[in-house]
Structures are given as C-alpha cells and as structure tokens.
Amino acid sequence: MNPVIEVRNLTKRYKDTLALDNVSFDIQKDTIYGFLGRNGAGKTTAMSILTAQNLPTSGQVRVFGENPYENARVLSRMCFVRESQKYPDDATPRHAFASARLFFPRWDQELADELIDEFQLPLKRTIKKLSRGQLSAVGVIIGLASRAEITFFDEPYLGLDAVARQIFYDRLLADYAEHPRTVLLSSHLIDEVSNLIERVLVIDAGRIIMDESTDDAREQATNVVGDAATIERALQGREVIHRESLGRVASITFLGRLDDAERAALTAAGLELAPVSLQQLIVRRTQQRTPHHDALAASDVTQEGVSR
C-alpha cells in the first residue's frame, strides 16, 4: 500500500493539555476513513496539523511525501471542511464557491450546482444569516465538489437533518466510486457512517487506539448474555471491556474472536451471543480510560440547529 499521509511521533501540547501524545499512523490512498473519537480527543487538532493550519509541538508529518507547511503544491490537493469554518462578514455562499473554484484544481462546478440544488441552499444570502444546517451544507458542497485528493470532513453534518445527511452520504459514495480519493470523515454518528468507511482510526485522549479495517473492527468484540457464573467460567482469560448485570444474568462484552467450536460451546451452555456494532465497540473502548473526560460535549450539541 502507498500512504498519502505519514505521521510520525506527532505531539501537540497546549499549555498544560496534551492534545496529541506521540501519535504515528499512515493514511492509505483512495480510502474512506472514519476518524472517530470523543469530543476533545484530538481529532480537530490532528486534522489542522495535517492540513498545515496548525503547528505540531514535535514530530513529523508528510503529505504526498512532502512537508505540507506553506507548500502550495501539497495544499491545493487537500481540502479541509471545518466544523466551524469562518467566512468574511459579507460573504455569500456564491463567494465561497467562487473562491473554492479558484483554489482547487479539480473543482467540478456541475457537481457543485447539483448539490446547491439538492440542499436548497440560498446563494445570495450572507453566510452570517444562514442556519447552522445551511452553513454545514456550504462546507459539504465545497468538500465534495473540490474533488481534492485528500478531503477532511470534520463533523460536517451539524444541523443537517436526516434527509440532508443521507444526501451527503449518497453523494459522497457515488462521487467516490467515480473519482476515488482519500477521505477522512470525523463523525459522532458512527452507526450512520459505519457502512461508508473502509477503515477506522480511533483517537482517545490524544492517542490512536484503533487503526484497522472496518470489517476487522466489527469482529473484534462479542457480547454474551446469560448466567453470570457460567459466563465467568466460559470467558476466563478474555479481555472484558464492559459488564452489566441484572440479578444473576450478566451481559458481558469481550474482545477477541470466537471460532465455530467456541461459539457452539457457549451456545450449548445456554449463553446468548450477539455481535457488537462499531458504535458500541468504540463507545466501550473510549469510555474506559476517560470516564469524565468531557463535560463540554453537551454544550456542543446545543449549538446544533441554532441559527447564526
């Protein structure tokens, strides 16, 4: 495989907060990634550094084999759709698209026009007066129509209703199928995006805790429900990531695969096995280390849908 981004020992420190803690990973060409993690885990910091909008404290970033800093050759091949993109006060969506068209060499105006239509975006209203959902639509349209070789979507759906999100997902898949490229999609709606992404990159408290294919991730954990004592006996030596109980019945999520024989033995012992969705797996794995990490999450959510 040939990586389009290589990150080595990347650290970012803000005063007394360690936003990125010595992370290393590669991003493969023409692959859709889910870049997942809790609020404050370091996703936006990482994407800002990869797109040269922020500087690392230490470590190395290579994009298309080059250092991205003030490197127009590299930057025009990347598009970063920020959750809170700032625009000039009197700018309209028309202005935003016109400048995107100048900046991105592979910009597709026809696609942009179709998307403007589908999202019913008012072109002449100033961006300041757009609703949160319309503002998100501006970013999504730029991200898709730029056809950049690497596109970062940082929670692109804020304020978008279910219909608009489905338009985004469908358009992303269709356009990716015809024009394969690398996409990093950061999202909290893991269930919604889990079928779109080929690989998952999970960051937790500034560290990468998962970097694997979505298929592998889905098979990583199993949930078993039944008599608590029987389960404890059966699962000896397994790594348990979650445990709940109701009377004598326990529900336990553990890591590791089961072969057919193990599966049959557990079923024969009266235990019920259930798969663990990607969302559940990531919730379990990111709540272990950071139980109180994020009191700010709630305030983020209330911003949704608020007209600006």
């Binding site: 898949l173 798969p275 663990v276």
Partner: protein, 142 residues
Amino acid sequence: MIEEGKPLFVQIAEEVEDSIIDGSIAEEAQAPSTNELAAFYRINPATAAKGVNMLVDKGVLYKRRGIGMFVSPGARDLLLSERRSLFALRYVQPLLAEARKIGLGPADVADLIRVSAEPTTPTTPTTPTTPPTLEPSDRRTS
C-alpha cells in the same frame, strides 16, 4: 437487510447469491457492478468489491474484460448445494436449541413443522391446531 454480526462483504455476496438462486439473475446474465451494489446498499465500494471478488473466487461470477461481471454457468446448482449443506447448521440446530430450552423434543418440533407447512386448508375451525405437547415445557416448580 444489513445486519451486524456477519462481515458486510459476506452479506453483499449472499444478497447476490439469493438473486441467482431465486432466478432473478439468470446464468450468463450480467451481475450488478461493484458501484451499483455500493450505491444500492449504501456501502463503501471497496466492501462491495470484496463481496464480488468472493463470488469470483467461488466460481459463481466471472469477469468479461471491459464489460463487467457475469453469472457463471452452473452457478445456481453450486449455490443450491452449498446452501443445502449449510441448512442444518444455520437453521435446524438453532431451532432445536430453542425447542430444547422450552421443553420441546425433536418429535414435537417435527410435528410443528408438519402442521405449519400444511397449506391453510379450510379445516373445521373446531379443531384448533394447538402445539402437540405443551405440558412438558411447564417444568417450573413453585
């Protein structure tokens, strides 16, 4: 349609297999392309491609250069015999396990299957088709 627990590409392959088994895609007919599958099931094209490749490896589909994927001759028979050999494992054993749990033996299950399989004949409504043995299941004391 799409469920957890089975790898997505396997599910996609099985959807295509079902269409071949029920005849909606005939042998030697063109199979849906990777991108068509991806758009229809709303999944990553790489995942759809993995499912299609699995069917090629199995000999169910074959590639015609520059045109697309086609259903191999004999694919339907191949799939039928595979599905039949998996039938006991996938359907009969879970059925028996649940039956055991609620106190029904294999003979009871066989009777139930026979009754359920009967066409909805205009039988006299005075003979309710109750499950043959309900008593043994009621093992709860107290």
